[in-house]
Amino acid sequence: MSTRRCKVFGTLVLLGFVLSGTAHGAEDSYWLSDRQIYKLVYTSALEPPEINRIHEWLLHIETITGDVVENAEVTVDGGMPLHNHGLPTRPRVTEYLGNGNYRVEGVRFHMHGQWEILITIKAGDIADSVTIPLQL
């Protein structure tokens, strides 16, 4: 898996993007897509993560060269690889907020353990995906 977390430095940076309307700061902490096309920062409305509560995530997406990714098709899925099951909900992007920011609603985890969130991004004809491991 080529996805990796780069320079872990706090995802609260994204909140700054949303509030300021700029994309600066994505260099500080991001997840890289499998084919290294996109950079993604996520912020969970539940921090620290918690089981059994439905909540939102905010995503900020840029290209590897730092251009914000506008109006992409973004899908969210996931599950527990060791248990061979998916998420208990079907989260999806419900709003494009501008400046490469996307609102995801309907995220919930219902077990402790190792989860993976799979985010696919398709802008124009260029698709790639990001896998985010999460320990709850």
Binding site: I51, N52, I54, H83, H85, G86, L87, P88, T89, R90, P91, R92, E105, G106, R108, H110, M111, H112, G113
Partner: protein, 411 residues
């Protein structure tokens, strides 16, 4: 050789086990996550404007115990949801006017669940409360009859008017019917589990008081708890202070004798998505129509044969167990998970535990420590006395939950 093996087994059985080890930091975190002291306040129900209204709870309590709501005048909600059995009935499947399709689940603490029924075919307490009233095997009644009953009973019509306005001015029978469900839900929201011996044990663990730990729990109970949060994988589904993730799982429970396997959640989600009394329906009081649980609910074959995880805080006096009461005792439930045979339909999510007989008994010993009286005052656990003075007090307003909880010993 055989005799030697038997003798060795007997000696092993008789030998005392080493004292249980101290809890590690991650284990303490897990125990705290199950502690009733960490149960969050009951979330509001935006779909029900009277969810936390004391007058509605009193009205709902009367409706809950009122047999006149049924077609034959003999059935009330409490026929199956009996307070003395943690609001269950001790039967494999509920028995009212006819035989219900499934086991009567406890409703203690169920207000925390986003889904109701074993298959989650309703998404609010109030919409669930309406279904048995019109089920031909349960109350066997209908909404017109029930709304006429409210209108004809001066006490009921007064209580209704206080909450929702005069009945004739209500816009429809359906609206009035929904309001009746919302009042019953306001009552059911008061039914909460109280602290158990398990919670007293966790308090001693959190306090780091090892002497008290050994006074509260036996060694078998401690070992059972360690299995519960570890090797037996119980907390995958039975997690949080209510020991339920309120989600749906296929655990390979065999079909009720003579019946085809129950489709469970895969059918329940289809029904609730189309139901007029759902969160997104006309009769919801949620003006913003948040309805996140419903809008983002998962569907699909993963949910074939899946049933909602029940709270283990309602184990005491609530057998037989499982969605059709297929398993009579707690010991047999543990044997079921220990074997984890393939499911008749769908996929059994459970892997065989492979625990020894001694370990299963320890696990059962721990589970019995979850027994506890309700945290709800006795006045709510019996048919209400009709006291006009109470209604007068209610007219001044009040928060139902604050009025309902008995004082429990400090954790």
């Amino acid at each position: 050789m055989t005799l030697a093996a038997i003798a060795a087994g007997i000696i092993w059985w008789l030998l005392p086990q080493a004292p249980p080890a101290s809890w590690t930091e991650p284990e303490v975190e897990m125990l705290e996550s199950l502690w009733i002291a960490n149960l969050k306040p009951l979330p509001s129900d935006p779909t029900n404007a009277v969810a936390d209204n004391l007058a509605a709870a009193r009205f709902g309590q009367r409706l809950f115990f009122d047999r006149r709501l049924s077609a034959n005048g003999a059935i009330s909600c409490a026929t199956c949801h009996q307070p003395e059995r943690r609001f269950t009935d001790g039967l494999p499947k509920g028995q009212a006017i006819g035989a219900s399709k499934r086991n009567t689940p406890s409703i203690v603490g169920v207000a925390y669940s986003p889904w109701l029924y074993w298959d989650g075919r309703r998404d609010s307490l109030w919409s669930q409360a309406l279904s048995p009233l019109e089920d031909s095997n349960e109350h066997g009644s209908n909404r017109s009859h029930i709304v006429r009953l409210i209108a004809a009973d001066p006490s009921y019509s007064e209580m209704y008017a206080l909450l929702f306005g005069d009945l004739p001015e209500s816009d429809s029978v359906d609206r009035a019917f929904a309001n009746i469900g919302k009042s019953i839900a306001a009552y059911e929201r008061l039914l909460m589990p109280g602290p158990a011996k398990f919670d007293r044990y966790v308090a001693t663990v959190v306090a780091g008081d090892e002497t008290s730990q050994q006074e509260v729990f036996s060694e078998d109970e401690i070992r059972g708890l360690r299995l519960f949060i570890g090797e037996a994988n119980c907390t995958q589904c039975h997690n949080g202070p209510l020991l339920s993730n309120h989600e749906f799982h296929n655990t390979g429970v065999i079909a009720f004798p003579g019946e085809v396997p129950d489709k469970g959640r895969v059918a329940g989600i289809r029904e609730v998505l189309a139901h007029p009394f759902s969160c997104t329906g006309t009769y919801s009081d949620d003006p913003g129509r948040d309805c996140a649980e419903l809008k983002f609910a998962r569907t699909g074959p993963e949910l074939i044969g899946a049933m909602r995880t029940p709270s283990l805080r309602n184990l005491e006096n609530t057998g037989p167990f499982m969605h059709k009461g297929q398993i009579e005792t707690l010991a047999q439930v543990l044997q079921h998970y220990n074997k984890a045979l393939p499911a008749m339909i769908g996929h059994n999510e459970v892997k065989p535990l492979g625990l020894s007989g001694r370990e299963l008994r320890q696990l059962e010993a721990f589970l019995l420590t979850l027994a506890a009286p309700l945290a709800t005052a006795d006045q709510w656990l019996r048919p209400p006395l009709h006291d006009p003075a109470e209604i007068a007090v209610d007219q001044a307003g009040g928060n139902a939950l604050a009025e309902s909880i008995v004082t429990t010993e400090s954790l």
